[in-house]
C-alpha cells in the first residue's frame, strides 16, 4: 500500500499550459474527477429547476379550484418535473459518483476511455439544455414522462412540445450508452492488482450492475423513441391505430426500458448507502456476497416485470399472473438488502453524521415505498390504485425516499474527497431533518388522497371531496423540502471556503479512495496499490475491525484530521489554505506518469451531434442536419486519429 507520497522539498513550478486552469481546463478535461464534478454541478442545477417545477405544482394543488397556472402549463410542469428528475437529476447525479468514484475505488488512474467519458458529459449537457430550451418557445413537453403513444403522435400532439421530448431523450440516451460501455470496460479491465470482483467496493459493484442495465435497457427505449420520431417527422405508421398499429406497442417497449430504469435509478443509491453504513457503524458490510448477488438478481428480474405498469390495459389472466408473480419475487432480493443494512448497523458503534442520517433514511423510507410497491403487484389491488395519488406517493417514496436520500448520503460522505473540506454538520443536520420531515409530510398524505380517489395529473380539483387537508399538508411539506434545500446549497458553497480541511480520510473509511489525498491529484495513485482484502484501509490501520465486531468510539469520531503528520483538529483551516494549489502534490510529470492530453475534440463532437437534432427540430432543416453530421464525423475522425497520451520522443 505505497500510496502516500512525500512532498517534494522545494516547490517545482511546471510551465503553465492553457489547459491547466480556467475555463479551458474544464472544456478540454479528460480527468474523470473533473468530469464527475461537471456532472455533479449540472445535475444539482437541474435539481433546483425540477424542484421549482414541483413547487409550482404543489402551490397550484394547495387548495381546490386554484388556477395559478393553466391546465396546459400544468401538463408541461408535471411532464418536465418527471423527465428532469429522472433523466437530468438522479441519473446524472449517479453518473457523477460513477465518474468520481469508480476509478478511485478500483485503484485506477482514469476510466478506460477518458475522451469518451468527456463526450458522454457534453452530450448530456446538450440534451438537458435542448429539452429545457422548449420553455422559451412556450412548447415544453406535455405528454408525461412516459410519453404514451398514440397520445404523443402528431395528430394528438401537434406542437413542438413532444418533438423536444423525443429528440431530447434520444440525445440523453446516447450519453448514457456511451458512459455505460466506458464504465463496463473500466470495471472489467482497470482494477488494481489483487482487486478480484469479490473484493471490489460495493458501490462499484452496484455501478457495474447498473451499467449493464443501462446498455441493455436503453436501446429498447431508443427504438421506441425512433418509431415515435419517425411517425412524427417522416409519416411512418408505428403508432397509427388506423393503419393497424397496436396501441400497446409503445407501452410494452417503454416499460421494457422503464422498469429496468427504476433499478438504474435506485441501485447506485443502494451502493452509496452500502459504503456509508459500514463506515459509520464501524463494521464491515453484513453479508457482502449476498448484497452483490441480490443486486444482480434485482437487475435480472428487473427485465421481467415491465407489464405490471400495464395491468389496467387488460392483458388477460395469464400475463397478469406472470407479471404479478415476478414483481412479488423482486421484493425478495430487495428485502435481503434492507435486512443486510440493518445487520450492518446491528451491534456497531454508530456515528450519526449527516451522511449516516441520510443513509438510514433511505433504509426506512425505501422500505415504505417498497411495501406499497408490493401492494400494487397484485392486479386487483393495482386496479384500485392505478392513476391515483397512491401511485404518486409510492414512486416518490422510492425515488425521493430511496434514490435522492441515498445520493444525499453520498454527497455528504464524499464531499471531503471531492473538495478537500468537510461540510458543516450542523447545517447538514438542518438539511436532513427539514428534508426528511418535509418529504414525509408531502408524500405520506398522498397515500390517503389516492385511496380517496384523487387522480394523478389533474391541474385542479373541486372543493368538498375531502381532499383539502391532505393537499394542504403535502404543500407544507414541499415548502419544508425547499427550505431544506436552501440549507444544503448554502452549506455546499460555504463549506467549500470555510469547511474544516478533511485530510485523506476524515471518516475512517475502508476502501482505496480514502488512501489518497483529498482532492486527489490528477493521477489518483502515485503507485498503483496492491489489494489484499475487501477493506484494505481497515486491515492496515485497525485489523481488529475486519476480524471482530468493534465496540466503543475511536479518535475519528471527533473528525480529527492529520495533514503531513500534524493534527489540525476540527478547527476551520486558515482562509489562505489553498487545497488546490498546483504544488500540493508532485505532478504526474514529476512522477513519470503518462496522463491523457486534454482535448476539446469530444466537446466538438458532442456539439455537432447535438446540432443534428437542432436541425431536425428546426422544421427538418436538412442543410443544418447534413452540415452538422459532416462536422460530427470530421471531429470524430480528428478525435480517433489523435493519440490519447502525448507521444514519447
Amino acid at each position: 500500500m505505497a500510496t502516500t507520497v512525500s512532498l517534494p522539498a522545494t516547490p517545482h513550478r511546471e510551465p503553465s499550459h492553457r489547459y491547466e486552469s480556467g475555463v479551458w481546463s474544464w472544456l478540454a478535461t479528460t480527468d474523470h474527477k473533473r468530469i464527475g464534478q461537471l456532472y455533479l454541478y449540472t445535475s444539482l442545477f437541474w435539481f433546483l429547476v425540477g424542484g421549482i417545477e414541483a413547487g409550482i405544482i404543489r402551490t397550484q394543488l394547495y387548495g381546490p379550484n386554484q388556477h395559478l397556472v393553466s391546465a396546459q402549463t400544468y401538463n408541461e410542469l408535471f411532464t418536465m418535473h418527471g423527465t428532469t428528475m429522472i433523466f437530468l437529476v438522479v441519473m446524472p447525479l449517479s453518473a457523477a459518483f460513477f465518474n468520481f468514484l469508480i476509478p478511485l475505488q478500483i485503484g485506477a488512474r482514469d476510466v478506460a476511455f477518458p475522451r469518451l467519458n468527456a463526450f458522454s458529459y457534453w452530450i448530456f449537457l446538450f440534451g438537458g439544455l435542448f429539452i429545457n430550451f422548449s420553455w422559451f418557445l412556450h412548447a415544453a413537453p406535455n405528454g408525461g414522462w412516459f410519453g404514451y403513444a398514440p397520445l404523443t403522435t402528431r395528430p394528438f400532439s401537434p406542437g413542438l412540445n413532444i418533438d423536444f421530448w423525443v429528440l431530447g431523450l434520444q440525445i440523453l440516451g446516447i450519453s448514457s450508452l456511451a458512459a455505460g460501455f466506458n464504465f463496463i470496460t473500466t470495471i472489467i479491465n482497470m482494477r488494481a492488482p489483487g482487486m478480484h470482483f469479490m473484493r471490489m467496493p460495493i458501490f462499484s459493484w452496484m455501478a457495474f450492475i447498473t451499467q449493464f442495465m443501462i446498455v441493455l435497457a436503453f436501446p429498447i427505449f431508443t427504438v421506441a423513441l425512433t418509431f415515435l420520431m419517425l411517425d412524427r417527422f417522416f409519416g411512418t405508421n408505428f403508432y397509427e391505430i388506423q393503419a393497424g398499429a397496436d396501441p400497446l406497442l409503445w407501452q410494452h417497449l417503454f416499460w421494457l426500458f422503464g422498469h429496468p430504469e427504476v433499478y438504474i435509478l435506485i441501485l447506485p443509491a443502494f451502493g452509496l448507502v452500502s459504503e456509508v453504513l459500514p463506515v459509520f457503524s464501524r463494521k464491515p458490510l453484513f453479508g457482502y456476497p449476498v448484497m452483490v448477488y441480490s443486486g444482480i438478481l434485482i437487475a435480472f428480474l428487473g427485465f421481467g416485470v415491465w407489464a405490471h405498469h400495464m395491468f389496467a390495459v387488460g392483458m388477460g389472466p395469464i400475463a397478469d399472473s406472470f407479471f404479478s408473480i415476478t414483481t412479488m419475487l423482486i421484493a425478495i432480493p430487495t428485502g435481503v438488502k434492507i435486512f443486510n443494512w440493518l445487520g450492518t448497523m446491528w451491534g456497531g458503534s454508530l456515528r450519526f453524521t449527516t451522511a449516516m442520517k441520510f443513509a438510514i433514511a433511505l433504509v426506512a423510507l425505501f422500505t415504505i415505498g417498497g411495501i406499497s410497491g408490493v401492494m400494487h403487484s397484485s392486479p386487483p389491488s393495482d386496479l384500485q390504485q392505478t392513476d391515483s395519488y397512491f401511485i404518486v406517493a409510492h414512486f416518490h417514496y422510492v425515488l425521493f425516499g430511496g434514490s435522492l436520500m441515498g445520493l444525499f448520503a453520498g454527497l455528504y460522505f464524499y464531499y471531503p474527497k471531492i473538495t478537500g473540506r468537510l461540510m458543516n454538520e450542523k447545517l447538514g443536520s438542518w438539511h436532513f431533518w427539514l428534508t426528511a420531515i418535509g418529504m414525509n409530510l408531502t408524500f405520506f398524505p398522498m397515500h390517503f388522497l389516492g385511496l380517496d380517489g384523487m387522480p394523478r395529473r389533474i391541474s385542479s380539483y373541486d372543493a368538498g371531496q375531502g381532499w383539502e387537508n391532505n393537499n394542504h399538508l403535502a404543500s407544507y411539506g414541499a415548502a419544508l423540502i425547499i427550505i431544506g434545500t436552501v440549507f444544503f446549497v448554502y452549506n455546499w458553497f460555504a463549506s467549500m471556503r470555510k469547511g474544516a480541511v478533511a485530510g485523506n480520510d476524515p471518516w475512517g473509511g475502508a476502501t482505496l479512495e480514502w488512501a489518497i489525498p483529498s482532492p486527489p491529484p490528477d493521477y489518483n495513485f502515485a503507485t498503483i496499490p496492491q489489494v489484499t482484502s475487501r477493506y484494505p484501509l481497515w486491515d492496515r490501520k485497525s485489523p481488529q475491525i475486519t476480524s471482530e465486531v468493534p465496540h466503543g468510539t475511536r479518535d475519528e469520531q471527533k473528525m480529527e484530521v492529520k495533514i503531513a503528520g500534524q493534527s489540525t483538529g476540527t478547527a476551520p483551516a486558515p482562509a489562505d489554505t489553498r487545497l488546490n494549489a498546483p504544488n500540493a502534490h508532485p505532478s504526474a510529470k514529476q512522477l513519470g506518469i503518462n496522463m491523457p492530453t486534454p482535448t476539446i475534440r469530444p466537446l466538438l463532437a458532442a456539439f455537432f451531434l447535438g446540432c443534428v437534432f437542432v436541425g431536425l427540430i428546426a422544421h427538418r432543416n436538412l442543410t443544418i442536419m447534413f452540415i452538422a453530421a459532416g462536422l460530427f464525423v470530421l471531429s470524430l475522425y480528428s478525435w480517433l486519429l489523435t493519440p490519447l497520451e502525448p507521444e514519447h520522443h
Partner: protein
C-alpha cells in the same frame, strides 16, 4: 487509434471489451426492431404485402407479393462472403502480410458495398411497386428494420475504408491487429443480424 494499452485486469484489450458491451447493447436494439416487425406481421389492413398478392379494392390494381427472395439470397451470400474476407484480412494483419491485408480489407469493403447496392436496388424497386414507409405497417416496419441494418453496414464499410486507408498509408504491424480485430467483431455481428433478418423477414412466410 492507438493499439497500445497498459496491461489490463483481464489481459483483454479495452476496446475489445467495449465492443462486446456495444454488441450486447445492439442485440437488444435489433431485437426490439425485429420483434416489432414480427408483432406487426399480418396486421396491415392494406397491402402491398411481403408474401401474398393484394388487390386494391379502390382501384382494382393487383400488387404482387413484394419480397424478391432469389435476389436477396444473392445479396445475403455476398454479405456472408464479406465475413470470410474479413477473417482473411485480420489473419493477414496478424501474420504481418501487408499485401494480403490490403487485398482482403478492400474485398470486405467492396462486398459490403455490393450488399448495400442490392439493398438500394431493392428499396427503389419496392417504391416503384408502391410500397413506402407511409404505405402500411409492413412498409414502415420493413424499411426501418432493414434500413437500420443497412445503416450499420454503411458505418462498417466506412470503418473498413478507414482501416484500408491507414493500411495503405503506413501499414498495420501485427501488434496493431487489434484495430482490425475490433472492426471484424462489429462486422461479423452485423452479418449475424442479417441472418436473423433474412430468416425471419424473407424466408418464414
Amino acid at each position: 487509434m492507438g493499439g497500445e494499452h497498459p496491461p489490463t485486469s483481464t489481459g483483454l484489450n479495452n476496446t475489445k471489451v467495449a465492443i462486446w458491451a456495444f454488441i450486447g447493447s445492439e442485440c437488444f436494439f435489433f431485437a426490439s426492431l425485429i420483434s416489432t416487425y414480427l408483432i406487426y406481421r399480418g396486421r396491415s389492413p392494406v397491402g402491398p404485402f411481403p408474401h401474398d398478392a393484394w388487390t386494391d379494392p379502390a382501384t382494382g390494381h393487383v400488387f404482387k407479393a413484394i419480397l424478391n427472395i432469389p435476389v436477396t439470397s444473392v445479396s445475403t451470400f455476398v454479405l456472408l462472403m464479406s465475413s470470410l474476407a474479413m477473417v482473411l484480412a485480420h489473419s493477414a494483419v496478424v501474420r504481418g502480410d501487408r499485401r494480403s491485408s490490403k487485398i482482403w480489407l478492400a474485398s470486405t469493403a467492396i462486398l459490403g458495398a455490393t450488399f448495400l447496392g442490392f439493398q438500394a436496388y431493392e428499396f427503389t424497386s419496392f417504391v416503384h411497386e408502391g410500397l413506402t414507409i407511409h404505405t402500411n405497417l409492413f412498409g414502415s416496419s420493413f424499411f426501418i428494420l432493414t434500413g437500420f441494418h443497412g445503416a450499420h453496414v454503411t458505418a462498417g464499410v466506412i470503418w473498413l475504408l478507414t482501416l484500408l486507408f491507414i493500411d495503405i498509408k503506413r501499414g498495420f504491424s501485427p501488434d496493431e491487429a487489434i484495430n482490425v480485430d475490433v472492426c471484424a467483431l462489429y462486422w461479423h455481428f452485423v452479418d449475424v443480424v442479417w441472418i436473423a433478418i433474412f430468416t425471419l423477414v424473407y424466408l418464414i412466410k
